[in-house]
Symmetry: C2
Subunit: 120 residues, 2 copies
Amino acid sequence: MLSIDLRDARPIYEQIADGIEQMAMHGIYQPDEQLPSVRQLAMELSINPNTIQRAYAELEHRKVTYSVKGKGSFISKDCQQLRIRKLSEIKKQLRNVAEQAVELGASRQQLIEWIQEKGE
Amino acid sequence: MLSIDLRDARPIYEQIADGIEQMAMHGIYQPDEQLPSVRQLAMELSINPNTIQRAYAELEHRKVTYSVKGKGSFISKDCQQLRIRKLSEIKKQLRNVAEQAVELGASRQQLIEWIQEKGE
DNA sequence: TAACTGTAACAACGCAAATAGTACAGTTGG
DNA sequence: CCAACTGTACTATTTGCGTTGTTACAGTTA
């Protein structure tokens, strides 16, 4: 479920966009499934409609959703491809962080152990 | 060399703090080595001295440097311990990113291959 | 036609980052 | 001692961003 954390450093519209993107990537939202309307979600979260609109615009820009005037906003049809694109971003991040670790003196073997460690 | 990127999302004082911390971690700055004075660095970078002061305060808070009134700001004596602390932060980041990748469908084996791939 | 949808525009507010200027306090070398 | 350097503190101001509140327009649907 979508929730807003005011202590979160991210702005509200970004939390909403990230949350919905997560749900789409994880299959909680299905392709072509309709999102709650701008005004309805604004009511539910007690947030100004403009903020929701901005979140939806961000989602559309990320190609996670598409919007149709008068009808609503919907999850994109090709979530699979989006997941792959997202994964490739995360690969970059991973390699970036790994490089930083190596520069600070960690061995590649060490990194692998860190990834394989279980828990918490 | 320290440089400021105005397109960078991070505030200037943070860019400066990060940059100096990097140099300290990588041994470019030696323990007890003196940093440029607040006013001198402000001149060099064409930035207000207050911004530099804030960066130096941040560095002191991170225990990367220590300051002495009337004398100057200096790199901490125990850079080694700082390097280890920094490395443990990076470990957290690595495990965090790895978890995200797994949630999106990557296998742990896949992550290990990504880390071992030689850089593009 | 009424009630819903997305979209656009504008003013207002709060907040944090950054700037600007001034002042105070400690150290150092001549 | 003194001038010139160091860090530090404080206040006022500007700027940009996020959010709110409001109003309005355009398209869809029952």
